[in-house]
Symmetry: C2
Subunit: 340 residues, 2 copies
């Protein structure tokens, strides 16, 4: 390791509007030497997620903002490659952490979770990780999905959306997904989704949603905001539930975009809109793992990742999220799958 | 009764924007003669409510639209003054019905509810009627109010709002009400409300709400919409709940007004927005009556009505709702309190 270097990505300036690569800088540092009680971890994959855009704004939120000049954070999976007397982690252990956006790091272990990979390790950043758990908690707890309901999902081919669609299908639901390309629509079809809407080519989104739901929507899983939310509200059934998971449409807005003009519909129909962040729902983790394993075995849960190579390309991968460049989870490969 | 006439109000044309008296016509008819099995009812008070504006629009909703040329409907209280062999109702019985906007009507009884007045009968159109029940269900079930929470109420001196404020105070909550005049603010103070905001004179509503809630809002009871909803969302605490009861700000809008631009806040804070109509919650009626009686006895529940005289003035009373002309419930006196 003596001639190896670590590379990490820092926030150089706060983005205004859509982030550009100029907002980031890559810094080369020495691979850290684990101090007494520490382990050295080499990351294999790091995660880039839309929610990170919010942390680039200097404001109070449910997670503190990233600081300029500091290394960014995010989910990562890697392997312990050296230990200086740590008694909890051994060389070869696979670990998850929030120490993403970098290749190597030293840790005392408190911020690491050991895991035994049953599938390719990058999937623990996607379907089997935070995005999958987000889909699970959002659909089953926040939206309180019942069997055989009628479900609309936006950003439906993404890391969260594609799992939402398949959980709903596994529950016998009629599922319609909104996507931004015909390739993504094809992918959703291959997952068993009943119908897709390409919001870029469908014309009037409200009419397209109305046509796909002649008897209305029971559950809308919101990842996008803006016109999608308005179209969904216009087509909800009495007692319908909307899980507010993300609003990627507005993460880069420099002026607050107009909200849905039709919220008054919620009164007469008794609709519920409920926001959530997955971190409040980790009490469902064991159920999530059990159900995902069973669905995967039964062929009812599939996933894929869009893999970008090289930590130096992680800003580009992150920016690509807002251009719809990913199908499934966007991850960045920053090291070998197996380092030792 | 031979020389007495009935007067009733019909919808003459559908209002565009704020209704005007030209949208209504009063028609003089004979006082009906009860047919075999029918009773004759003389109304004492009729109700005008903001929700009726929605029924003047020709669209599918949770209640069917009013039809042009037909007598309007709404809550009413009155007394049976004659019976032609009806075995369920006797002369002198007090009855509630949806046969408002008129002085007299005949009924077979299926659309009548008998009641024994314990308080002035017009209160059964307000605090002890549909508006009071709306406050009760909205605050305790929809918003799931807990003791000692921090509660914001808009249109707080109105028929619903003034009951919401007092239920919340009875539960030990800190209560702030928004109103449109200093007279209404004074009235709320007399009901024990902790603090009031006059939205017409406070300047920046968001700043005024923030100042009133230095540690944030647990429950917002929404009667207004627009800037009120946006200001409330900006100041909610994590896990906060918003009961969407009414949005009077937009009932007369000819173009859909912009929605709240800050709905994304709901995600990070895990907020719930839930719409409701009281008709879905009448299973709480016995609880409502019991609690209201107990609170009234303990001096914790007071109410008043704004009484307009004469059925011919009911369109004006209705229009006055949108100008903030009422404190407490707006009702129209169309006959004597006791007819027989």
């Amino acid at each position: 390791m003596s001639n190896q270097k670590n590379h990490e990505i820092r926030l150089k300036s706060r983005p205004v509007g859509v982030p550009s690569t100029d907002n980031f800088e890559m810094v080369e540092t020495a691979v850290p030497t684990p101090q007494s009680g520490q382990v050295l971890v080499r990351n294999s994959y790091i995660s880039v997620d839309p929610y990170m855009r919010g942390r680039m704004v200097d404001r109070k939120s449910y997670v503190p903002p990233f600081q300029i000049g500091e290394t960014l954070q995010g989910h990562a999976v890697g392997q312990v490659v050296a230990s200086n007397g740590n008694d909890k982690f051994a060389v070869g252990d696979f670990v998850q952490s929030m120490n993403g956006w970098r290749e190597w790091y030293a840790s005392g272990g408190a911020d690491l979770q050991k895991f035994e990979p049953q599938v390719p390790i990058q999937s623990y950043l996607g379907a089997l990780g935070m995005p999958g758990m987000t889909a699970y908690a959002g659909l089953l707890r926040i939206a309180a999905l019942k069997d055989d309901e009628r479900v609309f999902v936006s950003a439906a081919s993404g890391a969260v959306g594609s799992v939402v669609c398949q959980i709903a299908k596994a529950k016998g639901c009629y599922v319609v997904g909104s996507v931004g390309s015909d390739e993504k629509a094809q992918y959703l079809k291959s997952l068993g989704v009943d119908r897709t809407i390409n919001y870029k080519t469908c014309g009037d989104l409200n009419a397209a949603v109305a046509e796909a739901f002649s008897t209305g929507i029971d559950v809308y899983f919101e990842n996008v905001g803006g016109a999608h939310l308005e179209a969904a509200i216009n087509n909800m059934r009495p007692g319908g539930r909307i899980a507010l998971c993300g609003m990627i449409d507005m993460y880069n807005a420099t002026e607050p975009p107009p909200g849905p003009r039709n919220l008054a519909i919620c009164i007469g129909l008794g609709l519920t809109l409920r926001g959530f962040v997955v971190s409040s729902h980790y009490d469902m983790l064991a159920d999530f793992h059990r159900d995902m394993t069973n669905w995967a075995k039964a062929g009812k849960m599939k996933w894929r990742e869009t893999i970008v190579d090289g930590v130096e390309n992680s800003p580009k991968a992150f920016i690509g999220l807002f251009k719809g460049e990913n199908v499934g989870k966007m991850v960045v490969r920053v090291g070998p799958d197996k380092a030792v």
